[in-house]
């Protein structure tokens, strides 16, 4: 009903019809909330527009009277001031009428809120854990679990390369979900408070360490939906996007099967022996993806905040202590997380090997995935 009046919506519809290039272009001048791809998102959008138009109507009346008065009742036009200064009747009217309008607003808002809070009877449960500065997704009831990191290269952020279309809103592994299924999200965090937000799903929920929040969605159309962390969570708060890929159910089931097989294969790999060069080159990739955010790509760290890797006491000291801090994190500084659960044994062995031999550390030693596995099992 109100949607029909919205020129923004017409613009959006036009841009969808005239192709993605123009849609992208329109996106740069986007002025309104997305209608989204779920029933809750549509309802939220309608509610938003309803309140917006009520405010516009009130504004037209209030500012209309005000501008009329400013135009007509000027001393320069010789207007003589009236001296009235109170009226109980008028005061009562403008107390009661707004109250009635507010009640009318509260009714649809209350209904929508109850709908959003109904997390019962989900088809699928996904656990979402916020980390500084990435998301972890656990598909409950299966072995599939992975981290989703920012995929935009640092060179684009530092303006050395042109920025691609989904700059800062792209990840190495998106959250894959089926369409037309009720998906329940169990949202928590590992370190500080984050907030998981995808505007098109109209889901925004704080991820709080030690608490599990619930939210749900049922996506109507297949597609890729992008959002990002919405609660200040430290240095790279602006660099932890959320990407949701909604696919038909059959595709989802196939994907889940592949992921489960890949997980099994990864644990097989942990028993294999790698050469130094294999570990070093894989370690470089892991380092740049995971560690460089704080310790920096050149291993110099950020003085006073994040210690340097180059020449560090740990990376050039006994290897056991090095494994200990990477797997279990630092007791003194919570910013150094426990990566034991976040990375595979192969990645752990690779990155430790890399750190001991890169940045001029030249320790010449390395560690095998199986040693990491034994270290973990020993605890």
């Amino acid at each position: 009903m109100l949607r029909g009046f919205n020129p923004l919506f017409a613009l959006l519809a036009a841009s969808v019809l005239t192709g993605p290039a123009i849609a992208e272009d329109k996106g740069r001048w986007g002025t309104n909330m997305t209608r989204g791809v779920t029933e809750v998102a549509h309802t939220t959008y309608d509610l938003h527009m309803l309140i917006f138009w009520i405010c516009v109507a009130i504004g037209v009346v209030v500012f209309g009277v005000m501008f009329y008065s400013m135009w007509r009742h000027r001393k320069s036009k010789g207007y003589k001031a009236a001296q009235f200064h109170e009226s109980t009747a008028v005061e009562l009217v403008w107390t009661i009428v707004p109250t009635i309008i507010l009640v009318l607003m509260a009714i649809p808002a209350t209904k929508t809120l109850y709908h959003i809070y109904d997390t019962k009877e989900a088809d699928l449960d996904i656990m979402i854990t916020g980390y500084q500065w990435k998301w972890k997704y656990d598909y409950l009831g299966s072995d599939v679990s992975f981290f989703s990191n920012l995929a935009t290269p640092a060179a684009q952020i530092d303006n050395q390369l042109p920025k691609d279309d989904h700059y800062l809103r792209e990840v190495d592994e998106p959250l894959v979900v089926p369409v037309n299924k009720k998906i329940r999200f169990l949202i928590t965090a590992n370190d500080v408070i984050h907030a998981w937000w995808v505007p098109e799903l109209a889901v925004k929920k704080d991820a709080i360490p030690g608490f599990i929040n619930e939210a749900w969605t049922r996506i109507e159309e297949p597609g890729i939906y992008r959002g990002q962390c919405a609660e200040l969570c430290g240095k790279d708060h602006g660099f932890m996007p959320v990407v949701v890929k909604a696919v038909p159910e059959a595709e989802y089931t196939a994907w889940l099967g592949e992921r489960a097989a890949a997980a099994a294969k990864a644990s097989e790999l942990a028993k294999k022996t790698f050469t130094f060069d294999e570990l070093y080159s894989q370690g470089e990739q892991v380092y740049n993806k995971i560690c460089a955010a704080c310790h920096q790509p050149n291993g110099q760290g950020v003085p006073g905040t994040f210690p340097a890797m180059a020449g560090s006491k740990i990376a050039t000291g006994p290897i056991d202590a090095h494994v200990e801090i990477v797997v279990h994190g630092s007791k003194k500084n919570p910013a150094m997380q426990a990566f034991g659960e976040q990375l595979s044994e192969v990645d752990l062995a690779a990155v430790i090997t890399y750190e001991r031999n890169a940045f001029g550390n030249d320790m010449g030693d390395s560690i095998q995935p199986v040693d990491i596995l034994n270290f973990k099992n020993k605890q």
């Binding site: 997305t34 009742h73 009235f84 303006n159």
Partner: protein, 516 residues
């Protein structure tokens, strides 16, 4: 009996005179306004285009945090206290504040608090970087070492505010001239009386929450650490129990200033005086029961969401009453638009727009989309910049002739107004758009679809910043000289402050005036 100020710096260091202390508060607050403004410009410069150009993310977070803290605690609050110091005794016919020595102290601890806060920028690990709302555990376990200095400076600022409030309450309740009954007090005095009670109620809560942080950081407690059996959400409840009344602390005195200015330039008495008093009191009461609307996404039970949504929506009623009263005051007046009136009218318009977005934010299900986006940034800047900053500016232009004995330069005042008005809207209006389109707040870099409006906002910010230099120049020139102001200054303004000479003598109302 009556004596003048001491010569040299001792005048300022040892003064117990409400006018001197008011002047110091105002200059201090202007200095902080410029400092906090420069930080805002660093933020806007970095956000001029996508990518990191000027600062790194860790420094960007320090800028957003310090900008918020300095503007709230260093610019807006001291400016209102400065105006209260200057005007309340003169408005109620009192010779000075009730507790003049404490008045001196409550000002002089402020520069130390802010010197300490600003010094954290030069410490190892940098300044506080967790936002002015400093949510735990980002501000406890994960904070830079400078957080301890931040906590101490908050304690000092709180002590200063509490002393200032006690002083204001004691002055208003005990020192009114005979015949100045409560319901005859100017609204600026009323709104400050209510504000002072809010301050006394909530500054200890702020002190409590930072003390709990201090305990968590240094003494092994776990108030806000889930791993130790604590609760990070508790932090937010305690913080916003302070924080929401704090928002009204920054706006109620503004209501008072505007309620003084509009009748003067409309040449018509304020419409609905008593309803203004009751509306202010209602807003103050409601401010204590709406705090969790800042936390709609933390996962409260639905009953909690509903309570805070309804209570928040209710605030629109007394706020609306105020706006309607101001417009009725203007209606069928005989208006002129000198600089104070321009700022006051802009206040009514833009504050109302901020009120509309506030009403939208109150709707909990819609807030799930708005929360922590630039829509919120746009909302509270529309409330605070035209609300607090414009009203303070309006008040300064309105009373400056009384303080200095000189008229300010009207043309320059109008130039200042239009630059500031255009700059403000160009800066903050596009933020509504990027917020709705999905840009979170407090990010140093953003996706490409937000680029154009951010560029516009950045240009507006520099215009707004430049406008303040015109203000500074105009005020300095007026202090130095200019056309003599009459005792009444304006066209038959109401209030005792206009019955004393311009400039107001060092001591006014040594004998109480007669109040009709």
């Amino acid at each position: 009996m009556a004596h003048g100020p001491q010569p040299g710096f001792k005048r300022w260091l040892f003064t117990t005179n409400h006018k001197d202390i008011g002047t110091m508060y105002l200059w201090f607050s202007f200095a902080m306004f410029l400092l906090g403004g420069c930080m805002a410009l660093v933020i806007r410069a970095e956000l001029f285009e996508p990518g990191l150009q000027i600062v790194r993310p860790e420094f960007f977070n320090q800028m957003t945090t310090m900008h918020g803290l300095i503007m709230v605690f260093g610019a807006v609050m001291p400016a209102f206290v400065g105006l209260a110091n200057w005007m309340i005794p003169m408005m109620i016919g009192a010779p000075d504040m009730a507790l003049p020595r404490m008045n001196n102290w409550s000002f002089w601890i402020l520069p130390f608090a802010f010197a300490m806060l600003v010094s954290t920028l030069f410490m190892q690990g940098g300044a506080p970087n967790f936002g002015w709302t400093f949510y735990a555990p980002l501000s406890t376990e994960y904070a830079p070492p400078s957080v301890t200095f931040f906590i101490f400076s908050i304690h000092i600022m709180g002590a200063s505010s509490i002393m200032g409030s006690i002083n204001i309450i004691a002055t208003i309740l005990n020192m009114r001239a005979p015949g100045m009954t409560l319901m005859k007090m100017p609204l600026f005095v009323w709104t400050w009386l209510i504000t002072a009670y809010l301050l006394i109620a909530v500054m200890p809560v702020l002190a409590g929450v930072v003390t709990m942080m201090l305990m968590d950081i240094h003494f092994g407690t776990s108030f806000f650490s889930a791993a130790g059996g604590g609760d990070p959400v508790l932090f937010q409840h305690v913080f916003w129990f302070f924080g929401h009344p704090e928002v009204y602390i920054m706006i109620l005195p503004a209501f008072g200033i505007v309620s003084a200015i509009i009748p003067t330039f409309a040449r018509k008495p304020l419409f609905g005086y008593s309803s203004m008093v009751y509306a202010t009191a209602s807003i103050a009461f409601l401010s204590f029961i709406v705090w969790a609307h800042h936390m709609f996404t933390v996962g409260m039970p639905v009953a909690g969401e509903l309570f805070f949504m309804y209570a928040t929506m209710l605030i629109a009623v007394p706020t609306g009453v105020k706006v309607f009263n101001w417009i009725s005051t203007m209606f069928r007046g005989s208006m002129t638009f000198e600089t104070p009136m321009l700022f006051a009218v802009a206040f009514v318009i833009l504050f109302t727009i901020g009120g509309f977005s506030g009403l939208m934010l109150a709707i909990a299900p819609a807030d799930f989309q708005y929360h922590d986006t630039y829509f919120v940034v746009a909302h509270f800047h529309y409330v605070l910049v035209p609300g607090a900053i414009f009203s303070i500016t309006a008040g300064v232009y309105y009373w400056l002739p009384k303080w200095t004995g000189h008229m300010y330069n009207e043309t320059m005042g109008k130039v200042h107004f239009w630059l500031a008005f255009i700059g403000l809207n160009v800066t903050f209006f596009p933020m509504h758009f990027v917020g709705l389109a999905g840009m979170p707040r407090r990010i140093p870099d953003y996706a490409l679809q937000f680029a154009d409006f951010n560029q516009i906002a950045s240009m507006g910010a520099f215009l707004f910043g430049a406008a303040q230099l015109v203000f500074l120049f105009n005020v300095v020139r007026t202090v130095q000289g200019g056309r003599k102001a009459t005792d009444e200054v304006w066209d038959h303004p109401q209030g005792l402050e206009w019955t004393v000479p311009s400039p107001a003598p060092y001591h006014t109302f040594s004998t109480p005036p007669a109040v009709r």
